[in-house]
């Protein structure tokens, strides 16, 4: 009995140690003091904390990291930089996770988590100027209007919030829960600002019979839509482009409303606790340059803040559709696009609680 026991335990321990040592060589195991071979050049490590889909193989993170390392190597031949991408699950966990994972750049705040981030941590000023949606600490790197996506030929698209109450949408709209999803809260805030006071509750009650489901996250909700369980989903104006380019499916469309759409903006910032602060500042500069913006646009399926990156691409068409002054009857910097100004689509905790209570009061 003793021999197989020993063999089995040794086998298990061997497999585990093998994996750990192999990875120690590949990725560095500081816990075991088995660090990667030291290169001849002086190497600095830049730690970037972002949500998981941003740093996945198909997200923009790995490509951006390689591009930055290459560009830095060209600029400073005597030294090298290693960009280490750290995941924080979703954007909601960035603040919580940066308390325990030291990082030089945090990437993925939206306009709702930005005020909270400002309140609960210190941030360095970045050196990038004159970009849409940014302030001196939080640099916007992509954005997208939010609204409803549908499949052409399956249903007549909605043209306004009021139109969503039409019986043709009975049990067909997939929404996200504002308590756990940022686009979900965008929708609630959109309804509240277009139909203030009692009208919000009234609207939501009427909408109830048309709602197919309220999911905890955008991905679940969008999954229900792509599986054909729902015909209309709350999503980004850029979502149809994914289907068009990746799946060669032209049926997906974004319903452009006459009233302004809310926008989702993603920000990057440098925490005051950064170790490689100069490198972090360079990285922020880099992600707002057209080449990096193009990568973000094509892999994160969002609009670039630096419009040069979108020129000649279908992303520019979306921007054009949203800035069609003849259609929406407005021009000028503030309302260049048919989107609500950012000041409107952010809420403090009290407003948020109040809206969420309204939501919970209407039993979907």
């Amino acid at each position: 009995m003793r021999r197989p026991k020993v063999l089995l335990t040794a086998g298990l321990v061997g497999v585990l140690l093998g994996i750990i040592v192999y990875n120690g060589r590949q990725f560095g195991i500081d816990g075991l003091n088995l660090s990667r071979q030291v290169p001849a050049k002086k190497t600095q490590t830049l730690r970037v904390l972002a949500y998981s889909s941003f740093i996945s193989s198909w997200g923009p993170g790995p490509t951006l990291a390689r591009m930055f390392e290459h560009e830095y190597g060209k600029k400073f031949p005597d030294s090298a930089v290693n960009v280490e991408l750290l995941q924080a699950d979703d954007a909601g966990l960035l603040l919580a996770k940066m308390k325990v994972l030291s990082s030089d750049v945090v990437l993925g705040f939206d306009q709702f988590s930005r005020p909270l981030a400002k309140k609960s941590a210190g941030w360095k000023k970045h050196q990038v100027k004159e970009l849409r949606f940014s302030d001196e600490e939080f640099l916007a790197f992509d954005w997208a209007p939010i609204g409803f996506v549908y499949r052409e030929g399956e249903i007549d698209p909605p043209v306004s919030l009021a139109d969503l109450l039409h019986p043709r949408f009975h049990g067909k709209i997939a929404l996200q829960d504002p308590r756990s999803s940022s686009p979900g809260f965008q929708f609630l805030s959109w309804v509240a600002s277009d139909m203030p006071g009692n009208k919000t509750v009234e609207y939501l009650r009427k909408l109830k019979s048309n709602v197919h489901s309220v999911s905890g996250s955008w991905s679940q909700s969008y999954g229900l839509f792509t599986r054909g369980l729902a015909s209309v989903v709350l999503s980004y104006a850029t979502s149809p482009l994914y289907h068009r380019f990746t799946e060669k499916d032209e049926r997906y469309r974004f319903a452009v409303f006459k009233s302004p759409h809310p926008v989702q903006v993603e920000f990057a910032a440098i925490p005051e606790t950064c170790e490689q602060c100069d490198l972090a500042a360079q990285f922020l500069n880099f992600i707002n340059a057209p080449p990096a913006q193009a990568v973000i646009m094509n892999k994160n399926w969002m609009l670039p803040v630096n419009e040069v990156a979108a020129r000649g691409t279908p992303f520019a068409d979306i921007m054009a559709a949203l800035s069609d002054s003849s259609r929406f009857g407005r021009t000028g910097a503030e309302n260049l696009f048919n989107v609500r100004p950012l000041t409107v689509v952010q809420a403090d905790n009290t407003e948020r609680d109040q809206l969420l209570r309204t939501w919970q009061g209407v039993a979907f």
Binding site: L8, D30, W58, L101, R179, Y222
Partner: protein, 495 residues
């Protein structure tokens, strides 16, 4: 081992298990704040959890009757148990998506309750069927020979003898329903509230650790209440035990078995399989366009991460339970363990970030964090399901050995460990199975995407639901292989 050293070890374990609770207090700076609508949260969470528990138990008993009827040979039994267990180990979103496909207009508290029942009833069926066979199989056959009716046997023999098992299973289902997240959100709508949703909301949207800590402390007080309640459960000390002679009792299939429970065992798995394999061709196409196969390093890291975390989590959980058992826990300590539930997955995940604090992120620390977190979450569940029963069975032998002067080492090496090896490997296998599909814990505890479950979640967040479904199906297969290897190890060592 001296009594003093026992006490030291015991307190080390207590501190370890209470650490996730303490961590939330530490991060909140000791301040506590209950969320707005706390009373409503309790009422809704508890009523939903009670409903889910009652439905699961009712259907679980029916499923147990089917397993007893259909599992007349070892092969058949393994097959039906596998089918019954699938919904409990598959990701809950697979169940919910399939459920919505099949019953598109069924929503609300009842839908949540039934979805929870679909997820857990097979698991409960397996446990109850095993308990019936092992504990009262012989008496039931005798009663049948004497002419007792099926109804009388269920009412007078089966249900009373399962009282403590039903209680242990109820506690597990109740707490897992309180901690449920996707199911109530998707099927219950805006009225659905559970503690996990409230904690999620506090941490992710408001960064309000004081609320998360307050909810954790409340959970801790529930734990104390459960300890007191479990005194009731101790009246009947026969709890779950490993089945050794189950298949040999052919007669009990006729006595208490019933084909009525067939849908209970099959329906949940059918929903999950339907959901996972609905669009395999689209899934494969999405995987190819994702660029996953072009970045083989990342894929390789994920596979290694999955293998390392699932193996280490299984070994750590079982080792923790083995250490606990080797301390000869008293009745009150066993009750403590039976009542323990880790706080929310999110809080437990964050607490594990204290491991390797100050060290740069690395594969080693990530694997260790996820595995320790899994041990916190699964050890109490497995204790209630099997370890407690095993230990109680061995208590008599331990007492005799101690009376005869055997020392601690001898008792562990000659009595406890040899008889607990199969349970050790069974628990390890089960945890390993669960961990292949984990993303909730891994995505908080790890600094990079390194498990198969996290890969699937990330694919889902990038428009690739069908690819994620294929990956999840793979994680179930990998989990099954892992479980089999562990249990084979148990059989080999136990010989």
């Amino acid at each position: 081992m001296t009594t003093r050293r026992h006490a030291v070890f015991w307190w080390v374990l207590v501190v370890m298990f209470l650490f996730p609770y303490g961590f939330s207090l530490l991060i909140s700076g000791g301040s506590l704040r209950l969320p707005v609508g706390f009373f409503e949260l309790c009422v809704r969470s508890f009523s939903q959890a009670l409903g889910s528990t009652a439905t699961t138990l009712g259907l679980g008993i029916l499923g147990a009757a089917f397993l007893i009827k259909a599992g007349q040979t070892a092969k058949r039994l393994s097959f039906w148990e596998g089918i019954a267990l699938l919904p409990a180990i598959a990701p809950s979103s697979a169940m919910v998506f399939g459920f919505m496909d099949m019953l598109p207009n069924f929503r609300g508290v009842w839908a949540v309750t039934i979805a929870h029942a679909l997820i857990s009833m097979g698991f409960v069926s397996v446990i109850l069927a095993r308990a019936i066979r092992d504990r009262i199989g012989a008496s039931l056959e005798l009663a049948w020979v004497e002419g007792a009716s099926r109804w009388v046997m269920w009412r007078r023999a089966v249900l009373p003898s399962l009282k403590s098992d039903l209680f242990a299973v109820s506690v597990t289902i109740f707490f897992s329903s309180l901690a449920s997240f996707s199911v109530p959100l998707l099927l219950g709508g805006s009225q659905a509230v559970t503690f996990e949703i409230a904690i999620h909301h506090a941490i992710r949207l408001e960064n309000a650790w004081d609320i998360a800590a307050a909810l954790s402390v409340f959970q801790l007080s529930l734990l104390v209440g459960a300890v007191a309640l479990l005194r009731f459960g101790q009246e009947n000390k026969s709890v779950l035990a490993r089945h050794r002679e189950s298949v040999s009792r052919l007669g009990i299939g006729r006595v208490v078995g019933s084909f009525l429970g067939f849908p209970v065992v099959v329906f949940g798995s059918a929903v999950v399989l339907f959901s996972l394999f609905r669009h395999p061709i689209e899934g494969w196409a999405q995987l190819q366009t994702s660029g996953l196969f072009e970045n083989l390093d990342a894929l390789w890291l994920t596979l290694q991460g999955g293998l390392a975390t699932s193996t280490l989590a299984g070994v750590l959980t079982s080792t923790l339970l083995l250490i606990f058992v080797s301390l000869y826990p008293s009745d009150s300590k066993m009750r403590w363990m039976s009542a323990y539930v880790a706080p929310s997955t999110a809080i437990t995940g964050f607490a594990t970030l204290a491991i390797g604090w100050g060290h740069p992120p690395s594969f080693f620390w990530d694997v260790l964090r996820i595995s320790v977190g899994a041990a916190f979450l699964f050890a109490p569940v497995l204790w209630r399901l099997r370890w407690e029963g095993e230990l109680r069975k061995l208590n008599g032998q331990v007492q005799v050995a101690r009376t005869l002067g055997a020392n601690h080492r001898l008792i562990c090496l000659r009595i406890l460990f040899p008889q607990l090896w199969p349970t050790f490997f069974w628990s390890g296998g089960l945890v390993s199975f669960w961990m292949w599909g984990d993303y909730a814990l891994g995505s908080i505890a790890a600094s990079r995407s390194m498990t198969v479950g996290m890969l699937a979640k990330s694919l889902m967040e990038s428009y690739r639901l069908e690819a994620a479904s294929l990956i999840l199906a793979f994680s179930i297969m990998a989990g099954a292989i892992s479980y089999r290897l562990f249990t084979l190890g148990g059989l080999r060592v136990g010989r």
